[in-house]
Amino acid sequence: MTTDHPLIQLTLARLREFIREPEALFWTFIFPIVISVTLAAAFPGESSRPVRVGLVDSAAAEAVRSALAGDDGITIVEIAPDEELGALREGDVHIVVVAGEAPGDPPTYRFDPARDESRLARLAVDAALKRAAGRADPWQAREEPLVVPGSRYIDWLIPGILGMNIMSTGMWGVGFSIAQARLRKLLKLLAASPMRKSQYLLAQMMARLMFLLPEAAVPLGFGALVLGMPIAGSLGSIAAVCLIGALAFTALGLLTASRASTIEAISGILNLAMLPMWVLSGVFFSTANFPEVAQPFIQALPLTALNDALRAVILEGAKLSDIKGELGILGVWAVVPFGVALQLFRWR
């Protein structure tokens, strides 16, 4: 096969168009890093996050302040009485402490028990104040803080960002370029030439798989080298999961683009297909947050399968044989949409 083989020329054409599109490069390579770093800064590990306690200033507040000041895990925020609810609502403070009127009167805690942070804050504040008031603890447990590798939010997040990126690049990259070629009547001209139609579709997939390598290496490398994310699984397994995930989303990209001939149509269809997965498939928060009845649907989504598989391999060191279920789901998502796309595909 020389470089003049149509498959190579078609793949090269697609690759060139991609790398000459600065926006595409940004969304594929820079955006995942920006979003990982931003989210990691916004949600640092649980232990390093201090409890923010709102203190309403009064004569008696001084005693509370000095009682809490000794605790490293507590940050005191001064608030005016009429700001209490607003500060709680906005998450500026996790709990509001109002000191008792006379010295020795018990304080009042105002917090939302439905919020985890607020319940934690209540426990921390309560213990600190009672200890300051003279509570004698019967014993002090010996604490052995352990950092379990891969247990931070950022460690959990990066595989999800990678999965999301594989979805977006596959669907946008393939879907958008095909719809645009159809809009420009370039598909029609290609169909009028002796080009084999299957080679065109194959080239779209090959070009997409070629930028899979840098696309996966950038967030994983950044996560491992800069953010200290452990990579427990083998690189071969990670590559295999990325590959089958990319195939599934490329097939979906082909399917969404099989008819669309306007930019509005393809954008609408792509967003409609991807939005549910952004929300439901455990990119930013766990799928366990959704009710039991929705789980069969959520688990059948390709991005859920890809994210679960990536996390299992990267964070837990799973072997491919441990994630057969996820790989099977992705395989079905690769084969069925591809077959349907071939049936529906329009060249004009």
Binding site: D4, H5, P6, I8, Q9, L10, L12, A13, R16, E17, R20, E21, A181, R184, K185, L186, K188, L189, A191, A192, S193, P194, M195, R348
Partner: protein, 249 residues
């Protein structure tokens, strides 16, 4: 082997209630340049796309280079060069890359250097298609159509929107192609162009051929000059034959 490059009989193509091509028959001889003329919506593009095998006629019979669509598609595609009325080539590929891509589809054909020379785009070899002028893009489209050294070239309004200089440059390209024995079928709205380029023309209106022959024959037959002092032109023929419709539109 048939001596005609294109032979079609009683072609009909309907879009719902609208009959775009209505019992159209024509024959293009090998080695000639054949022009399809007619007002907007006459059915020229529809006809040419049927001949190119891009559309299937509802009725009628087509033979191209003695071969048939549906039976000899691969062989036919290797021997045709096609430029479509509305194609815009990929903007982010260079001229050379675009030609290399199209050349790769053909088993035999011209080299990239030859193609660049034919359409005089050597200086633009490394420019992106998006940076070319309208005339340069059109010449590139023709070069793509010539990539497989075709026997038969279909051009749908190749010179629309070009300045006189670019049009003449394109005429030169076509004359050289014909000098090498190629056959051309083109559509145009410029009657002077048809007079210069075409050996024979067909005037199409409402989906059928209303007149056919060499420009000179048509002028002799229909082109009574409106002003006595000048010679009849194809423009006069066109207006005489289709003027009713231009007014109706």
């Amino acid at each position: 082997m048939s001596t005609s490059a294109v032979r079609c009989e009683r072609l009909t193509k309907r879009y719902g209630d609208l009959t775009a091509v209505d019992g159209l028959s024509l024959t293009v001889r090998r080695g000639e340049c054949f022009g399809l003329l007619g007002p907007n919506g006459a059915g020229k593009t529809t006809t040419i796309e049927i001949l190119e095998g891009l559309l299937t006629p509802d009725e009628g019979d087509v033979e191209v280079l003695g071969l048939r669509w549906g039976r000899d598609d691969d062989a036919l595609r290797q021997r045709l060069g096609i430029q479509l009325q509305e194609t815009r080539l990929a903007e982010k590929l260079s001229v050379e890359e675009t030609l290399r891509l199209f050349r790769s589809f053909y088993r035999r054909g011209r080299t990239i250097d030859e193609l660049l020379g034919i359409v005089e785009l050597e200086a633009k070899r490394h420019s992106w298609v998006g940076k070319l002028s309208g005339g340069q893009r059109q010449r590139l489209a023709i070069a793509c159509a010539l990539a497989g050294a075709p026997d038969l070239l279909f051009l749908d309004e190749p010179t629309t929107g070009l300045d006189p200089q670019s049009r003449r440059q394109l005429w030169g390209v076509l004359e050289r192609f014909r000098a090498d024995g190629g056959t051309v079928v083109l559509t145009t709205h410029y009657m002077d162009e048809a007079e210069v380029l075409c050996d024979r023309v067909a005037v199409v209106d409402c989906g059928h051929v209303i007149a056919q022959g060499s420009p000179q024959e048509l002028i002799a037959q229909f082109g009574t000059p409106k002003v006595v002092t000048h010679h009849g032109t194809l423009e006069d023929v066109f207006m005489a034959l289709t003027g009713r419709h231009l007014r109706d539109d």
